[in-house]
Amino acid sequence: MDNTLNKLRVLVVDQNVHIRQLMWTILQSIGAGKIDMAGNADAGFEHYCANDYDVVFTDSQLEPISGLAFVDLIRGSPQSPNPYVPIIMLSAHSDSEHVRQARDHGVTEFLAKPFTVGIVLKRLEAVIGNPRPFVRTDSYFGPDRRRKSSLDYKGPERRKSLLDKVRLPKRDITKQQRSALAKNKRAIDGVMGD
């Protein structure tokens, strides 16, 4: 059987024409059935509302609204036809603060520019092959931000059990420090619902 993704429908929103050309070349070569391109957030959202996409690639720097605001539109606008679509954010800024912001706005995967062909396909494989459930809270809507699960996890008190393991030998801390640690532990237990 020919191995293609001919049912895959992708939207790429990036201001840089060369990045759009590169993404189009990559997606077309793997047999994506529908590839649409937009050079700004307005055109991107117009495409998004008029079509049904399986994956969206968006740059973090868009006009007239930012890439994060564009993600907010997809996830939260009443006009959005599918708020659950996997979103892969392309960004020249890959420091932890930018990645955290992207995650907190509901971005599914983060792709630092400049990127290689292999990395683009790896991110695509991640959203297709390993989907994450969505979480809705008062302050967040998007893919589950927890990616790792502890092997030690046995029940609802995972964080507490980890805290208990991090105990300094009594001889290495003063009485005052021990008292402060105990106070902190009580406070944390209170927050975590000990």
Partner: protein, 161 residues
């Protein structure tokens, strides 16, 4: 779509799996990656032409800019945009040396305290380096000479700070 019962203050939702809908065959495997790399190789020639044009554009930009203080120009924003533009495709098209040259210049520009501090000599060294890559069709990291080139650019940038 299955929506789980709310647990406390959050709700877990499982959208329909994409793989069932779009997947045909083995998914994204080594064969698809090879196919994508081959396709991208075809746009490499165009890219080299663009790098050459960029080097010319930068030279033109610097020459056309009024010099407020001696040998210095006031165009860091434009330079960053031009070099970032070239840098974006460099890694994907297997021109890590171009990537390193652009990264070096962008790092220099971004750490300037004031636009007037931009030194034309540093910019010229980077555009000459780009021209050298194009003229010699250097792919990969350029080997020993490529690494030496990047090292000398980084040293020049350090000295200019």
């Amino acid at each position: 779509m299955s929506a789980a019962e709310p647990d406390g203050s959050y709700q877990l939702i499982n959208p329909p799996p994409l793989k069932q809908r779009v997947g045909v065959g083995r998914g994204i495997d080594a064969e698809l990656v090879r196919r994508a790399k081959t396709a991208v190789d075809r746009i490499r020639t165009d890219y080299l032409h663009r790098v050459a044009t960029t080097a010319g554009d930068v030279t033109h930009l610097i020459n056309a800019t009024k010099k407020p203080t001696g040998d210095r120009v006031n165009t860091p924003g434009a330079l960053t945009r031009i070099f970032r533009d070239v840098q974006m495709q460099a890694a994907a098209l297997d021109y890590p040396l171009v990537n390193d040259i652009c990264k070096s210049l962008c790092s220099y520009v971004e750490h300037l305290d004031a636009p007037e501090e931009l030194d034309k000599i540093v910019v010229r060294a980077h555009t000459d380096a780009l021209r050298s890559v194009v003229n010699n069709s250097v792919t990969g990291d350029g080997g020993h000479l490529g690494r030496a080139l990047v090292k000398s650019l980084n040293e020049l940038v350090d000295k200019s700070r």
